[in-house]
């Protein structure tokens, strides 16, 4: 077996005295969809930010496609094919929605030589359509509802044509119907949807999510963390049955509910 696709080894991050992430190691394979779950404040978002190097880790190594990417500039990492979304959406509020997606379409990885702005816009619209918000293409991003902004985040991530997407709460604040839709498009994307270079092979995914029921339907494997450290790892069935996980995730009392 060649070098693993994404490998995180001994990732640690301290904020002042606070240990946000401590010695986390896991792997994601090229064809996998991995869930990263844990209670609020467990350090999930920090892990994603460390991988994409928006934050610099205190120690630890992140390697992607056999290459050490720890602490490399974020743009460079994205151009290697590792896109991510933000939990707290960060749209370009005063730009039209389609222009929001044109920005990643212009990044070196996804840019075509000598392409007209019009075709860039078409590709951006394609990504919007994939996420189901093409109707708002011309509106400024500030008028979108929270759920649509979440989908805009997703559209921006897939517009960079990634091989691995890190999704930070893609269903956060979505209604059940929207959640099902997004979950469906994520599955489609992974199976080799129809977007750009991803036509034949869909990207691998690492999904941070609270809505376990939806998440469990998509993922192959789940990593559970609490207090910045991994407490369990396995298939959805294994994890759901794990007493430790139940206790950490939903509190002590309710564990009797689930069992």
């Amino acid at each position: 077996m060649s070098a693993p696709f994404l490998e995180v080894t001994g990732l640690t991050k301290n904020f002042g005295g606070l240990k946000a992430v401590s010695d986390v190691s896991f792997k994601v394979g090229r064809d996998e969809v991995v869930g990263l779950i844990g209670p609020n404040g467990a350090g999930k978002t920090t892990i994603i930010r460390l991988i994409t190097s928006i934050l610099k880790p205190t120690s630890g190594v992140v390697s992607f496609k056999g290459e050490d990417i720890t602490g490399k500039p974020t743009a460079q990492i994205v151009n290697k094919g590792l896109a991510s979304t933000f939990q707290v959406v960060k749209p370009f509020r005063n730009l039209p929605v389609v222009a929001n997606v044109m920005v990643p379409c212009l990044c070196p990885r996804s840019k075509r030589k000598g392409e007209w702005v019009k075709t860039v816009e078409l590709r951006a619209r394609d990504a919007l359509e994939f996420c189901g918000i093409a109707d708002f293409a011309l509106e400024p991003a500030s008028v979108l509802s929270h759920g649509d902004l979440k989908r805009l985040e997703l559209a921006r991530a897939i517009a960079t044509e990634p091989e691995l997407i890190l999704l930070d709460e893609p269903f956060g604040g979505l209604s059940p119907a929207e959640t099902t839709l997004v979950a469906k498009s994520l599955r489609r994307l992974h199976k080799g949807g129809r977007f750009g270079r991803l036509h034949s092979e869909g990207p691998a995914m690492l999904i941070v999510e609270h809505k376990l029921s939806e998440l469990m339907k998509i993922v192959d494997r789940v990593v559970v963390i609490n207090f910045g450290a991994i407490i369990a790892e396995g298939t959805p069935e294994e994890v759901v049955a794990n007493k430790e996980v139940i206790k950490a995730y939903i509190g002590k009392e309710v564990s009797r509910l689930v069992s």
């Binding site: 002042g16 404040g41 929270h146 609270h210 002590k252 009392e253 309710v254 564990s255």
Partner: protein, 249 residues
Amino acid sequence: MYLEVNGITVLYDRAMVLNDVSFHVDKGELVSLVGPNGAGKSTLLRALAGLIRWEKDTLKGTTLGKITLEGSVLFGGEEMMRLPSHDIAKRGLILCPERGRPFREMTVLENLEAGAYLVKDKGVVKETIDRVYGLFPVLDKRRGQVSGTLSGGERTMLSIARALMSQARFLLIDEPSVGLAPLVKEDLFSRINQVHGMGITILLSEQDIGFAFDLATRNYVMSRGKVIAEGRADDLLADELIRKTYLGL
């Protein structure tokens, strides 16, 4: 009824964050507000403390976004929606924000003194500080430390202590247990219980239903900006609804 909330609705631009929320809290109760991430718990508490209105006022006259705020909040028979947030605090309704939010460049003691801004009598301030230190001995040990360097649990305790300093009669505590280790959580909740025992009414927003249900006399379940269920812990636990909406399992 001590606190009576009627039809609060909050919209950010077009996004509905709270949708016609109504509930009430009686004097001396400890009521919990549980629900998953993004259910609107924090927004509700911020609206009660007048922060949404403040945010709206600061953004007035700009293109930065429009906030709609409707509904009524009666606290001790007085309408709170029209009052600015500092006047709401004056009435004794105090919010402890999520993750404590201490004034991070000030020491613990200074934070407490800032909390006592409304109390003019020096003797009362001294007395309250002693009482608060009795309640949270950790803060006594850390009194000279800059609060930005406190741990998560200490920050939450500091924010509760700070609220007590202003002679709060009604505490709104927002997600005190976020990111805390089980032992710290356990400790924190016994403290909250003690605070409740001092005769202070508490409305607690919480994700960890285990703890919330243990503590509270009554519970409200929120989901997607609405209150969807109300009741005692056992009734709610027996209900299938909460498992579905809340746990998603």
